[in-house]
Symmetry: C2
Subunit: 336 residues, 2 copies
Amino acid sequence: MADYLNRAWTMASRPDGEPTPANFAIAESAMPEPKHGELLIRTLYLSLDPYMRGRMRSGPSYAVVLEPGDVMTGEVVARVEKSESPLYKVGDTVLAKIGWQEWAAVGAHTVKPVDTELGPVSTGVGVLGMPGMTAYFGLLSVLKPRAGDTLVVSAASGAVGAVVGQIGKINGCFVIGVAGSDEKCRYIVDELGFNAAINYKTQNVSEELAQLSPTGVDCYFDNVGGSITDAVFDNLALKSRVAICGQISQYNAAEPQLGPRNLSVLTRMRGTVEGFLVYDFELQYEIARARIAGWIKDGRIKYKEDIVDGFENAPEAFIGLLTGKNFGKLLVKVSE
Amino acid sequence: MADYLNRAWTMASRPDGEPTPANFAIAESAMPEPKHGELLIRTLYLSLDPYMRGRMRSGPSYAVVLEPGDVMTGEVVARVEKSESPLYKVGDTVLAKIGWQEWAAVGAHTVKPVDTELGPVSTGVGVLGMPGMTAYFGLLSVLKPRAGDTLVVSAASGAVGAVVGQIGKINGCFVIGVAGSDEKCRYIVDELGFNAAINYKTQNVSEELAQLSPTGVDCYFDNVGGSITDAVFDNLALKSRVAICGQISQYNAAEPQLGPRNLSVLTRMRGTVEGFLVYDFELQYEIARARIAGWIKDGRIKYKEDIVDGFENAPEAFIGLLTGKNFGKLLVKVSE
């Protein structure tokens, strides 16, 4: 193992618009050695998520942005291979924000344990991890749906959207998902139990919403922004709530895109639009994780993983994520 | 008086873009006679307000929209000239939603008394009426400012904006007003006590805001929309709140205007945008009216009226209101 080199994906250059493979480069470095209080961890699964595109931009962000040469931001599920801390032992599974990297030496206090009783380890960065938490708190703490509410979620078959819709069903909502293929639409209705689905690539979202929910949209969980969000704004109900989770349709835009100035609908409908970040709910993750795990056990929440094999394939998978090529939670399997 | 004809301004045709005098026409009708339970009232002041432009549009609205030939929507301060009801006597002053009209016979239950002890009767449709209520509830019930918050208000010298800023000062805010002339800017700082003013016609609103409040904008009371609102969005603080009261910059647009898709800032800043209508707070008007009247008496709230003399001048005054020609609360004096 002494001869083995650690590998990391870096941002080679800042993308201008849609990222290309040339914006990423592998950096090799000597195998890290854990110091006192540290762990040597090996990545099992790397989570790929839309927020990473934001880190590649310059300009204001809620987090530190990447400079060319920096390791790509990301969270992994990893196994402890060496431990210089009493907190973890070899073989433990942990969550670590080490970026797109195969190995790392990290302070034991900087990682979180993964409870392998709750589900397969991959779910630690999926339905039981950040995406699941995002769905749970964005829906229940921001939108606060009531039974009978019409709930719309965009990117509905994705890691966040699929969980939003299913928790919406558990809360008695009429759930409409917006997705980008007939296959995805069938999945969320037939497998996940959504009431209806709209394929935004082939259907008129505004007209379909009007037909599916003549009383309007009470709650909208927005993962995408752009014209899908415009269509939902056209259909907001009185006292409607919109949660801005992500705006993936805008992430690859080199310049801010233009859309209709439609804030007046909020006055007409006494509507509220609220942006949120899941990290603000960190103190409550444990209870959310336990509830979602319980719903999975009961068969009330299902999840789908889109697993790409091989660390070297991460950039291509990430580029596809930004245009909706994945189907389910996108993960890169880095080691067994 | 039997020979006298009542006059009303009607919407002769639906405006396409900026209204012109040709969109309005005077309709004459026989003098109304109050029936049992009704009052004959005579308009003293007609209030002109931006929301009226919305009634002239087709398409969805929170209220009934006008059809060509309908009397223009509006609220007036009026005097009771004949009473067939025990609720009011001749000489009483009332608020009535009779539209742009000189006389009307109305059910006594459809009008509200004006407490002439609180202020001059004209304030019944101004600082103590709908615009004052809009300022009070939009600020205190929607934005909920805390002492130390930076509060920005657009159309800051207008009937609503001027009250928003002054109540903001009473609540300990750092208040920045955005207005359309140096004279208006001087007025809100020198006379009303705002901390600062920005002339959006000659200054870069975004840069001025960044300089005036480096920690960002905590509360934004939006009367105008468009590029001024974009500039405030560029400067939102963490956990900021935006109240959408009006979007006057958009009211004359024949087609929805385009603006930057900037909802991502709400995620970054965990910001909230909420639309409201003052009518939803009607049950609480009495306490708000008493408080504002008290602040006027204490000299903590000042108001400015822009009074146009003569019923026949209403359309021209209204057209000017939509482009910011008025300075203070716009009223038409209809009779003594």
